[in-house]
């Protein structure tokens, strides 16, 4: 990325300056690609903010952006593993739709009506999600089996899946929209009530800070134990401080977005609070879908980088033959990546249907395209073996930022698609050129 910013400088001075910039980055041992994406995201945000006259960088817009990015981010973490191991999953939008519809039927039709147990039972949401996630795992496992053990290319299997699962979703509800959903289940879709509020949000921020501190200290300790050179302490401190600042800053922004006045008044009336002049200010805090996305990102990052399974996924992507000859059960590993993808699609189904408070036949349509775009913009290579989970999550935020910014500027939706499409190809093209030059 350092090369990109240094392009305009003249040829003789270019070599040393980029060399030095690169060595500084190297001493941080950070992913330069990830840093480049953060810079790109900052440019997009500032650009939209200037063009929209300060409408983009408001707590309200950023909060909405975080909720919109959550579903794509959740599924993109799984798509990374799929693409890294040289496969593709085109069916995730339909799996999301079918699991969402299945869960809507459970909570709105089968439990209350078929079994006559009543609507809004306290346990309904748990049973519903467990069943939905199980269905997602089953679908993913089935597709993974056909891909890994029968040997049908994943493009074909999941293209078939895209049609089959969407069709089943229609059949399941005879094409009807199923609503309303369980009240507790709805909270998983976000909204003012489906958010953590000020205190819990600060708690999440605090946990994130502890996590950052722990990983830095544990990393140093591990390397010292074997007498390996450690990163300069100052750099670790800088990384820690920046990480903590970002975590706490994000919480502060989420808390700066208050409940809508009407809802706050209603809340005050229900709880017998006298409203102060100018209305009751209730901080919204981190939305539940964002919390789910953060948890999924943390778990998937652990799986991808610290677990044997993740190592095998990357090894298969790098050289399938070598993975086989090393004694890795490549078929089971591939199958598992699709099981994970199915589970994450079902979680996407929970969030999206809860947010709509309904399951429609078109739930999640085309989300596979945005998820694949997020993973690829986030640095996942179709050649296999390369990709990161945080990169894909950032990719999701980038694509959603573009869309949300264009909505803010009242750009027509066909134009939005054109822009996202161009950005996708340009990002990968840019990356390919950079990589070719650096090797």
């Amino acid at each position: 990325m350092s090369e990109a910013t240094a392009v305009p400088t003249t040829a003789p001075s270019r070599e040393p300056s980029t060399g030095r910039a690169r060595s500084v980055l190297q001493s941080f041992e950070l992913d330069t690609r990830l840093l480049g994406m953060i810079v790109a995201l900052a440019i997009i945000w500032l650009g939209f903010n200037i063009i929209s006259g300060g409408l983009f960088l408001t707590p309200r817009n950023l909060w909405n952006l975080s909720v919109q990015s959550a579903t794509v981010a959740i599924m993109a973490t799984g798509m990374v593993l799929i693409i890294v191991s040289r496969n593709i999953d085109l069916s995730i939008g339909s799996v999301l739709g079918l699991t969402g519809m299945f869960m809507a039927m459970i909570q709105a039709e089968w439990i209350p009506k078929t079994f006559g147990l009543g609507f809004d039972q306290p346990w309904t949401w748990i049973v519903t999600i467990a069943a939905g996630v199980a269905l997602g795992a089953l679908i993913g496992g089935f597709q993974g089996f056909v891909i890994a053990y029968v040997g049908v290319p994943s493009f074909i299997v999941t293209l078939g899946g895209l049609l089959v699962w969407r069709g089943l979703s229609f059949q399941l509800a005879q094409g009807q929209t199923i609503a309303p959903l369980d009240t507790t289940f709805q909270l998983l879709g976000g909204g003012p009530k489906g958010s953590l509020g000020a205190n819990l949000s600060w708690l999440v921020g605090g946990i994130a800070c502890l996590g950052i501190g722990y990983s830095l200290i544990a990393g140093r300790r591990r390397r010292r134990k074997y007498g390996f050179p450690t990163r300069p302490l100052g750099i670790d401190i800088v990384i820690g401080v920046v990480g903590v600042a970002i975590a706490l800053g994000a919480v502060a922004v989420a808390n700066a977005y208050p409940w809508p006045p009407q809802l706050a008044s209603q809340y005050a009336a229900e709880n017998g609070i006298t409203e102060p002049a100018g209305g009751l200010i209730i901080p919204t805090g981190i939305a539940n879908p964002v919390l789910i996305a953060l948890a999924v990102t943390a778990v998937m990052t652990l799986v991808a980088t610290r677990r044997r399974f993740g190592r095998y996924v990357f090894a298969i992507g790098g050289n399938p033959d070598a993975a086989n000859l090393a004694g890795i059960n490549t078929k089971r590993t591939i199958l598992m990546t699709f099981v994970i993808m199915g589970v994450l699609s079902a979680i996407g189904g929970v969030v999206l249907s809860a947010r709509l408070n309904a399951a429609t036949v078109s739930l999640g349509t085309q989300s596979e395209l945005y998820v694949i775009a997020a993973a690829v913009i986030g640095g996942t290579s179709f050649a296999g073996g390369i990709g990161t989970i945080p990169g894909a999550v950032l990719g999701a935020v980038v694509t959603q930022s573009l869309q949300s910014g264009m909505v803010l500027l009242r750009v027509d939706s066909p134009i939005q698609d054109i822009v996202v499409g161009i950005v996708l190809v340009a990002a990968v093209g840019f990356d390919t050129v950079i990589r070719r030059r650096s090797t």
């Binding site: 390397r223 190592r311 990357f314 790098g318 050289n319 033959d321 070598a322 090393a326 073996g385 090797t439």
Partner: protein, 304 residues
Amino acid sequence: MTMGDPSASQMPAPPGPGMAPVPGTGLDAETPEPVTAPPAAAPAPIGDAPIIEMRNIRVAFGGVHAVDGVSVDLKPGEVIGLVGGNGAGKSTLMRVLSGAHPADSGEILVDGNPVSITNPRDAKALGIETIYQTLALADNTDAAANVFLGRELRTRLGNLDDAAMESATRKVMGRLNPRFRNFKVPVMSLSGGQRQSIAIARAIHFNARVLIMDEPTAALGPAETAQVHELVAQLKSEGIGIFLISHDIHDVFDLADRITVMLQGKLVATVDKTAVTKDEVLAMIIMGKKPGEVTETELAELHG
């Protein structure tokens, strides 16, 4: 040279002075070291009982008999040179032993006991390690990830213990290639010699008893080839049995104790290196005729 494990003590290891300072083989294209004379390896202590016996192995691809009823055996501390033209079946035979390809029929014995090798994991569990001609490295991961691929070290919580794996890799690479420093980069950015030394490190780190080397020097320059020869001599002196697949008859004569020749999937013969000439082996490879069966004129024609 020790293998750094308890089982090494069971082997007739060379005495103290000979084992301490192992000269680096330095498989490194960028910094070829001056080739030092091979250490005076103790006279190869070849055992009597075979570690490996392969009996009547058959592998067919469609209607083609890639390996057709071949039997070979290997004793501890012995190097068997496996030679033959393209498509002779030598690599397929070894893929059976390394678990990469199942045999259609036949029997494999380890230490006289019949074993079942259906995948690479089985072979590795029996102490059979393979250095493939393609090296079989996951190019996008670093040296330690490749050395431990499929056999990762883990912490108590089951997470990958990357620091422990890097430490062990530094040790084994220090033995093979002391100048190697690039422990943190994907192996795709390394030179051919460096990649080769990682593949060798992977094979010898886990206390191999049997090593299969498929064309180990095909992609190497003269200096690096000499270093591989030195390594073979060292491993042999530790009592490791080696199958060496090679096209290069000079390589085979330099390193092997016995030579097994295959032609079109069939075993021509296994002969003692000292009992044959290079021309006689060439006649076996090309015409499939054993030393006794070949005439002087036929031998002369080989050079025609």
